[in-house]
Amino acid sequence: MTFRNQAPPLKLQGNFKFTPPQILTMPNGCKLLVVSQGDVDVCRVDLLFNAGSRYQNQKLVANGTFSLMSEGTAKHTSQQISEHFDYWGSFTGFGADKDYAKATAYSLTKHLDPTLDMMHEIVTCPLYPVDELNEWKRRRKQSLAVELEKASTKSRIGFFNALYGEEHPYGAFAIPSDFELIEQNSLMHYHKQFVGSKNCTIVLSGRVSDAHIAKVQSVFGSDSWGDAGQSNGNQIAEHQGNEQSVFIEKVDALQSSIRVGRKLFTRSHPDYPDLAVVSTILGGYFGSRLMKNIREDKGYTYGIGSYFLTFKDSGALVISTEVGEQFTQQTLHEITKEIKLLQNEPVGQDELLRVQSYLMGEALRSVNGPFAIADNVLSLFYFNNLDFEFYNNMVNLIKSITPNRIMEIANKWLQVDDLVRCVVAKSNPF
């Protein structure tokens, strides 16, 4: 007889151990981190540079320098380069974030050699041909213009503008006309300044053998390449924002796009793990309070979430949702209500156990497979100076957090008066 109203017994997940990558310092000084795992013959190579948009003096230069790397070298045209990667079934990505820039290649391990050889050529001697630059401007300008039509894009930009200021790299966004100002020289110069073995860390992940590691070493690790020196981060002036409520009108909006949150701290801050738990309880999983209230009880939205966004030198908590236009006010009200509830009433044991169990599962899922582990190595590199104990400590803190500590953290960091709200809607809710 099967008792369907009785849950099968659970095994609580106790053991989590983040396995650090193998770390090699190559002859040219460049660091190689190897995640050797998986049962399928595929791999990925990431070349990381301290070269994100925070270092640029003109909008889109960091992005352009990386996006256009594969558009022509002294030996190969843009078309030959894409033929090469497509023929070997390799997939590449080049781009710049706020803090870091990255060149990535996914490859079948059997085709790693030709993939790496071309990657080397692209990264070390791109020419930035003017024709390719112009075509890139034309195309990207149009796609940015479409992107900027979306309510969700407008509210994201409005929110981060308010949080960091439009001049701060974390609050700055390009507009289509910025593309017109980009010149070949600025890209060449940025490349010279920031792309080189002294400013590079490499992550190799997948089902890789010693031969694959040796190949990466011989291509990127023997001689020093590029003129760039090591860049350790520039100083960014603090922005003192005073806008707490931002309204952006969109006359034809069927839904209002809402962002609520505040500027916080980096992942190295001692309160980070506990606040990450608080953010999860509030809106970080399907069973979160905001999802239960705004979606599953009231049906105002398809989804609502809160997440902790980290930068190298800052961090932000963001609550984000798109709601039926007629529910804007109520949603803002309910968000405030849920935050105050976290500050004033202890979380029940059932809910706490559920969120802890869920987060333990997330920890396991985040190290499931070589590329997931590599992603974590990347973010440890970005935000924690490769402190490989970070995730182990985090898991321990998740397991030991108490209802009182949750209230304390919610009171310390989520005061409603400190929150910035940005709404893109038909009419002003403020």
């Binding site: 369907r4 849950a7 099968p8 023929y87 213009a145 479409v146 398809y302 997330e362 396991l364």
Partner: protein, 411 residues
């Protein structure tokens, strides 16, 4: 090679087990053979609305998500024109929680009015968010009924319009459940470090006593051959003009399916592809252009979408696309080009097998098509395509009479 074991229960539930020792997690994938193509034309969006209701509690378990969260699991689902698919990933030690929850909601739902009311509202917001409140979001609401006249692919999974969703009643929901959801209309796949014997026992224990159901639904009419080009022009508040062209193509099991898929890759997979090199780079007529197949089980669509450069008319753009297509139907693609798209296909396919969740879904899906082992023959079928196949299929597909053209004009 993805190895697996396979067995069936007496009630018709098919179960597939794939052992993957590289992960401490298991994936539990449950595919129901019901999609938006099985809906009544006046009640569209129902399969998808129903997917939402499957999370509203079942006959013996008031809440679906909380026990999964307690078991350190995560779960989700999606609905397509052909199927509704539910999946859970959780630590191996808690696998029985997944059997308990999935079997109870296969047995019967709670059918609460409150859950129905809330999910109708959630789905209407999803309709708004993804289709109506996005630039170019309504394209599939326009293109499908242009290309299909009788087949139920003529509406998208979200439904024809929000009103079909808002008027759904609890009785309709119940009848949809009992005529579509049942062990004999489902395929279960478990991937992870598991033993088939143990999965057999668990399957029998939790699913074995669920009765077979009488699966009844409207017949799906076969789309007649299109004999004349169809055209539609709409004006919308968007920043740029766009063009969409759809051609009818073969079904998923047809021998020409791989050739048709590779044809779309020759045109637009990767930056070395023909559309990108010719129409974007050399002729500078488009800023973006893409070709893809919808991948449906019944006769699907080969779709081209493009956004021309400022100053290039949609008529000019359309002419250039057809010229490019004509080349494929007149000249043989060379061996190198074909080998390139096959390599790229193999690579994409191999990367797809790195996740236990994807493997579980793919095994279920191929079992639905007829045999899970077809998953292991996919690459070979693509490798066997010849330049002549490509030319022949291009000839059949790319005719004016077989096309539906949508001009989406910026107001």
């Amino acid at each position: 090679m993805v190895n697996f074991d396979r067995f069936s229960l007496d009630n018709g539930l098919r179960v597939i087990v794939h052992k993957d020792t590289s992960t401490p997690l298991v994936s539990v994938n449950l595919l129901y053979n019901v999609g938006s193509k099985h809906e009544h034309p006046n009640r569209t969006g129902f399969a998808h609305l129903f997917e939402h209701l499957m999370f509203g509690g079942s006959v013996n378990i008031p809440n679906y998500d909380e026990p999964i969260e307690l078991a350190s699991g995560m779960n989700n689902a999606f609905t397509s024109t052909d199927i509704t698919n539910y999946f859970i990933t959780l630590p191996k030690g808690n696998i029985e929680t997944a059997f308990w929850l999935e079997s109870d909601r296969m047995l019967s739902l709670a059918f609460s009015q409150k859950s129905l009311d809330v999910q109708k509202s959630v789905v209407i917001e999803e309709f708004n968010q993804r289709y109506l409140n996005q630039p170019y979001g309504d394209v599939w609401l326009l293109l499908r009924p242009l290309a299909y006249r009788v087949h139920s692919y003529r509406w998208p999974t979200i439904g024809k319009k929000p009103a079909h969703i808002s008027s759904a009643t609890l009785d309709e929901v119940k009848s949809f459940f009992y005529s579509n959801y049942g062990p004999n209309n489902a395929i279960l796949c478990i991937t992870g470090n598991v033993e088939t014997d143990k999965i057999k026992a668990l399957s029998q224990k939790w699913f074995g006593d669920i009765p077979k159901r009488n699966i009844v639904r409207p017949d799906i009419a076969k789309e007649p051959k299109q004999t004349q080009q169809r055209r539609l022009e709409v004006k919308r508040k968007v920043p740029f003009n766009s063009i969409y062209i759809a051609f009818h193509m073969c079904n998923k099991l047809h021998p020409d399916y791989p050739a048709t898929d590779l044809l779309s890759d020759i045109l637009s997979n990767g930056k070395s592809s023909r559309f990108f090199q010719s129409l974007v780079k050399q002729q500078q007529l488009f800023n973006s252009i893409d070709a893809f197949i919808t991948g449906d089980i019944d006769e699907g669509l080969f779709v081209i979408t493009g956004r021309p450069v400022d100053g290039v008319s949609l008529a000019q753009a359309e002419k250039a696309v057809f010229a490019e297509l004509k080349q494929l139907s007149q000249e043989l693609a060379d061996d190198y080009e074909l080998r390139k798209v096959k390599n790229r296909f193999e690579s994409t396919f191999t990367f797809g097998l790195t996740s236990a969740t994807e493997k579980a879904l793919n095994l279920c899906y191929h079992e639905l098509l007829g045999d899970a082992n077809m998953l292991n023959q996919v690459v070979k079928k693509y490798r066997d395509v010849t330049p002549n196949d490509i030319k022949r299929v291009a000839n059949e597909l790319f005719t004016q009479e077989n096309s539906s053209v949508l001009h989406y004009i910026a107001e």
